[in-house]
């Protein structure tokens, strides 16, 4: 019997709340009970491989959109391209001292300049802006990527990594895909969260954390993704933890146990291991309870 694999995505709104450390721990726990696939969807700051030590099996180039190029020989320096460009991507001789050129970092690839240029001096090309990989880890195959510094993260690379991971899970009959998501609420997060069976939202007990949680919950509601909130480092502020829990209850959002602040989590990161594999500790215990909640929510049968 083959059913569609469940997708668990770990997101946070605010960055640095512990998404990746949790993703690694959950991958470790889940892999002890069932075959899984892991995806790192934080493609512009991918960190999961620092803990999972993947062996890379495949590497693929990734392109996404176009960049303009000006032919110096043909350019008559009329400046119409600069007037047309809404992305401030035309390098102007007055400012640079060089002939007209393209600021490739700023260029959106829209090709408006191509149509405004009276002498056909501008063409578009499609550069490689990243790579994606299939790797093997002790906990299952890892699908991950690297977006070159400064490239446009339109969410396409995130979608690609996620789709490949899901296809692999379907092919192998693996019941769960664990997706480590990016921070924020924009394009990459929308791509990471859409279609997920459960979004685990990791929040820290601060005013900023609470503020960002409200926005990321609006997002999961908007896209119809069920949410489960986990407060990380819960004991750092009893007051803010309680406020976040009250907010979740009022809003009817599922809450997991609080994960306590635990210096072993950073130690485990430095050692390059999931906390649950590194040491029995207060945080590891809480994460085991969290994993049990996730399993129940997703209707997964794991051996105990």
């Amino acid at each position: 019997m083959s059913t569609a694999p469940k997708q668990l995505v770990i997101i946070s709104g605010k960055g640095g709340t512990g998404k990746t450390s949790l993703a690694a721990a959950i991958a470790h726990l889940a892999a002890g009970e069932m075959p899984i696939v892991i995806a790192d969807a934080d493609v512009d700051a991918a960190n999961l491989d620092l803990v999972l030590h993947p062996t890379r099996l495949e590497s693929h180039p990734f392109s996404n959109g176009l960049v303009a190029e000006i032919d110096e020989e043909k350019c008559i320096s009329c400046g119409l391209c600069e007037e047309a460009c809404r992305f401030d991507a035309i390098l102007v001789p007055d400012r640079t001292g060089d002939p007209y050129g393209i600021d490739e970092v700023a260029c959106d690839g829209c090709a408006a300049c191509v149509y405004h240029c009276p002498v056909e001096a501008i063409t578009m090309r499609e550069p490689q802006v990243g790579e994606w990989y299939i790797s093997e880890t002790p906990y299952g195959p890892l699908y991950h990527a690297h977006l070159f510094a400064g490239a446009d993260n339109s969410g396409k690379l995130v979608t690609l990594v996620k789709q490949q991971a899901k296809l692999r899970a379907m092919d192998d009959g693996r019941p769960l895909v664990v997706v480590d998501g990016p921070p924020g609420i924009g394009c990459p997060v929308i791509s990471a969260a859409s279609g997920a069976d459960l979004a685990l939202i990791v929040v820290e007990p601060t005013l900023s954390g609470a503020h960002d949680l409200a926005r990321v919950l609006e997002l999961t509601d908007h896209f119809g993704v069920p949410a489960l909130v986990a407060i990380n480092k819960g004991d750092l502020s009893e007051q803010q933890s309680a406020a976040i829990e009250a907010f979740c209850r009022e809003r009817g959002v599922a809450l997991s146990v609080r994960i306590p602040y635990d210096t072993l989590v950073t130690e485990a990161m430095v050692a390059g291991q999931p906390i649950t594999a590194y040491a029995e500790s207060p945080a590891a215990q809480a994460i085991r309870a969290l994993w049990a909640t996730i399993k129940a929510r997703l209707g997964l049968q794991g051996k105990e």
Partner: protein, 290 residues
């Protein structure tokens, strides 16, 4: 002077450093503008508590087709690289979420049948924060939930909110990550201040942020190590190798974490930090002057 505070990794203390630097400078008498460019999750207002005086809607200019003028020639669809407009029989379909607002369809329409209308995607909020009697001009972008594109909002926030060169110090709080929105925030800055934590994740993302700031944009950069003492010394070794100056260290301090949790600033809780943030600014000036 325009300073962007960025980090690569999220949650390292960008907003903390940006806000405390701004408050220290304002209290010392410098005219100051603060722009929160983390439009997906803007948090600086929690600490600066500005009085918002004005809010405006911003967004993307999308095409609107005048059916009386349109001949369904299909030129608009042909020039749109984002496939945001399609002509099917005697119907023009516009897909607003795909449109980047470049204006090519309107420009290329032979019948001048396309006008551009604003599709709201975000709010820009303007106001003033006050700290010990000193004013700070404040601006933030707030992306509407469900909207995908942060970069145009940041561009607009900067276009409208940046003071003229020499009139005031501008501090820009960047979003996390290393892609487009971060680049857009950094562009045109005199200095990029990278806040990191001394852990493997912090280091990995710092490396990428340095690539964006120094290699892609050619901007001078320096590092603030936050939660100093928490992990290992790999960030320090990297900075030495890469010739990146470490301009400040903020130790792991429960009082700072608690203040942060309540939306309080370091300089309010621990006044001795005012001088340290002013010293940070002097170090930045030195680095820019090199």
């Amino acid at each position: 002077m325009r300073i962007t505070v960025a980090s690569g990794k999220g949650g390292t203390g960008k907003t903390t450093v940006a806000v405390n630097l701004a408050l220290s400078l304002a209290a010392a008498g410098s005219p100051l503008t603060f722009l929160d460019c983390d439009v997906e999750e803007p948090n600086a207002h929690i600490f600066l508590r500005p009085q918002i005086e004005r809010e405006e809607t911003t967004g993307i200019l999308i095409p609107e087709v005048d059916d009386d003028l349109c001949t369904y020639c299909g030129r608009c669809a042909e020039v749109c690289v984002f496939h945001a407009i399609a002509v099917i029989g005697k119907q023009v379909l516009v897909f607003p979420e795909l449109c980047h607002g470049c204006g090519s369809c309107a420009y290329n329409c032979p019948e001048k049948a396309i006008t551009e209308v604003l599709r709201p995607t975000a709010k820009l909020r303007w106001g003033k924060a006050t700290w010990e009697g000193a004013p700070i001009a404040f601006g933030e972008g707030v992306l509407d939930v469900g909207q995908a594109m942060a970069t145009p909002v940041i561009r607009e926030l900067k276009r409208k909110g940046l003071p003229n060169e020499g009139e005031a110090i501008a501090i820009l709080d960047a979003p996390p990550g290393n892609s487009c929105p971060v680049v857009e925030t950094m562009r045109g800055s005199d200095f990029v201040l990278l806040v990191t934590e001394p852990t493997p994740f912090g280091l990995h993302d710092l490396r990428l942020a340095v690539q964006v700031a120094r290699d892609e944009l050619g901007l001078p950069a320096g590092v603030v190590i936050n939660r100093d003492g928490v992990g290992d010394d790999s960030v320090e070794r990297f900075c030495a190798e890469a010739g990146l100056p470490i301009l400040m260290r903020i130790p792991l301090d429960r009082r700072i974490a608690e203040a942060y949790a309540q939306g309080e600033t370091i300089v309010a809780r621990l006044p001795e930090y005012r001088e340290r943030f002013l010293a940070l600014y002097r170090r930045i000036e030195e680095e820019v002057g090199r």
